[in-house]
């Protein structure tokens, strides 16, 4: 039970959007598909869902190519940033039609979520703010009950309270009926505790693909007086450095040998946000 992305490449004109991407999404995990704007996240999701075609490679869902395949496509729901629903359609009618296409869509649950988010389902898409435009799609994604749910920038335009509600509902949904969720975002800090596996994409190439724990345990942060940090990191694999006044923090890949760390330096774990920034800096 998985989506296999095999040797996918895609160019737009002279721009290489995806370069030989190979990943597997499944095992009922929550994935974070992380990348800066324009890294290729949406392109990849659009290829998985048959919205655009890859130049080469293929996407298999449980062994069947998703390209032009209703059976496979019906197992995936993708919420995107852009408008795919008719702008003049009311949200309640969108719910009705979603049920038409995805028979497992739970309209009652969707209405309940609409109440929680205070979304008026008698409004049409056009009249929604950016935040509510994300919210109604998030609601569908959480109620659609497909084995694979792809969320492209789900919290776009949501205020802090609604973001918090979203993460809570997502975890609740995931705990009660586990499925494979893929959250594509460039806002890493908020999702870092929610996701189990991390896929980092940079300029159309996958540069990291492993569990968050593994990724974060591959390195550490060391901070203290600049001169001490400088002398400590000489023979280390430093992926980034931050300086504030005379203090320095260095992000290091590799295992810690506690004995060799000078007493005046402090060791902390890597955090995903910082690691991401360092890894995806040009």
């Amino acid at each position: 039970m998985s989506i296999e992305i095999k040797n996918i490449s895609k160019s737009f004109g002279n721009t290489r959007a995806l370069d030989n991407v190979n990943i597997s999404l499944g095992d009922k995990k929550i994935y974070g598909l992380l990348g800066r704007n324009g890294a290729g996240k949406t392109t990849l999701l659009n290829i998985i869902t048959n919205r655009i075609f890859a130049d080469s490679g293929e996407v298999l869902l449980d062994g069947i190519p998703t390209r032009e395949n209703d059976k496979a496509l019906q197992k995936i729901y993708m919420m995107g940033e852009k408008d795919y629903y008719p702008l003049t359609m009311k949200i309640k009618d969108i719910f009705y039609w979603t049920k038409n296409f995805y028979p497992d869509f739970d309209i009652e649950y969707a209405k309940k979520l609409a109440d929680i988010f205070e979304l008026n389902i008698n409004k049409n898409v056009k009249s929604l703010s950016t935040g509510y435009n994300s919210i109604f799609k998030v609601i569908i994604a959480l109620s659609v009950n497909t084995p694979y749910v792809l969320l492209d920038e789900p919290v776009l335009g949501l205020d802090a309270n609604h973001r918090d509600v979203f993460y809570k509902l997502l975890i609740e949904k995931y705990s009660n009926s586990p499925g494979t969720f893929v959250i594509s975002t460039h806002l890493i800090e908020e999702v870092s505790n929610v996701i189990e596996d991390v896929i980092i994409i940079k300029n159309g190439t996958i540069i990291k693909n492993e569990s968050r724990e593994d990724l974060l345990s591959q390195g550490y942060t060391i901070s203290g007086k600049a001169s001490s940090v400088d002398s400590y990191v000489v023979d280390k694999n430093v992926i980034g450095i931050e300086t504030i006044g005379g203090l320095k923090s260095a992000y290091i890949l590799g295992s810690i040998n506690k004995e060799t760390i000078p007493a005046d330096l402090e060791v902390t774990k890597l955090d995903l946000q910082k690691l991401f920034v360092q890894l995806t800096n040009a």
């Binding site: 659009n46 869902t49 048959n50 919205r51 655009i52 075609f53 032009e68 395949n69 209703d70 496509l73 019906q74 197992k75 995936i76 729901y77 993708m78 995107g80 852009k82 408008d83 795919y84 629903y85 008719p86 039609w97 979603t98 038409n100 296409f101 995805y102």
Partner: protein, 250 residues
């Protein structure tokens, strides 16, 4: 399963437009009748041919049938193939439904006007092909069949044009929008007269006669039927080639 779902959705788009369209038709019929009663044409006046309005209506429907539906289908995990089959079924059903409705309207309005006097109404089929046989069930069925084919040709032509425009980039759109009319109106006649001694013009005229007869009351509706069916098939075939490779441009 999915073809059923997408067809249901695509038919829905027509439901509303059809309702408004026939409401307007009804209003016009009432308006004409009332006006006639008020001023009185003493039975000499007549009006005809809602079918031409339907043809234009369906052509415009065809033009509006691609982009919104395509995005909605992409959102809902429907392949281009299922969507296209759904569209074809929709076009056929709507053409059939409207040709039946239009025939019924022609008959009913005819009956009413005969009963209360005043204006008379003739449907397109009565107008062009009434020489063929006395009115009766066979005549009406033939009328439905031929108008249905005409409607299908209109809606599929609209669909083809809209899918063509969807696939073209901006520059190409401008070139085609300007180029095609200019070619048909100016360049083609010029080339025709310069290089082909008007053969192309003759062929066009012959096709016209083939479809509508030569205005001596000898039009053969089956010629019209044949041309409309071929035109629909070609339009659908070309549309499929365009839809097959259409991608989300969002």
């Amino acid at each position: 399963m999915n073809i059923k779902a997408t067809t249901k959705y695509q038919l829905r788009e027509y439901k509303k437009s059809l309702g408004s369209y026939y409401l307007i038709v009804l209003l016009i019929v009432v308006l004409f009748t009332v006006l006639d009663r008020m001023w009185g044409s003493e039975g000499s006046g007549s009006y005809n041919g809602f079918e031409f309005a339907t043809i234009i209506f369906l052509f415009i429907c065809g033009l509006n049938s691609f982009k919104g539906t395509f995005l909605m289908m992409m959102q809902n995990g429907i392949s281009r193939k299922s969507m296209f089959i759904g569209a074809s079924i929709t076009f056929l059903s709507v053409s059939m439904l409207m040709s039946v409705i239009d025939r019924v309207i022609a008959m009913v309005v005819d009956l009413i006007t005969k009963a209360i006097g005043g204006l008379s109404y003739e449907g397109f089929y009565d107008l062009v092909y009434s020489h063929r046989m006395p009115k009766g069930i066979l005549f009406e069925l033939e009328g439905i069949l031929v108008t249905c084919a005409m409607y299908a040709a209109a809606v599929t032509a609209g669909y083809f044009i809209t899918t063509l425009y969807y696939r073209m980039n901006k520059a190409l759109k401008v070139i085609v929008s300007v180029g095609v009319p200019v070619t048909i109106i100016f360049i083609l006649p010029l080339i025709d007269s310069m290089f082909f001694n008007g053969i192309i013009g003759d062929l066009v005229l012959k096709l016209f006669y083939f479809i509508f007869g030569d205005f001596h009351g000898k039009a053969n509706p089956y010629n019209m039927l044949l041309v409309c069916i071929i035109s629909s098939i070609i339009a659908l075939g070309l549309s499929w080639l365009l839809v097959k490779r259409a991608v989300d441009k969002n």
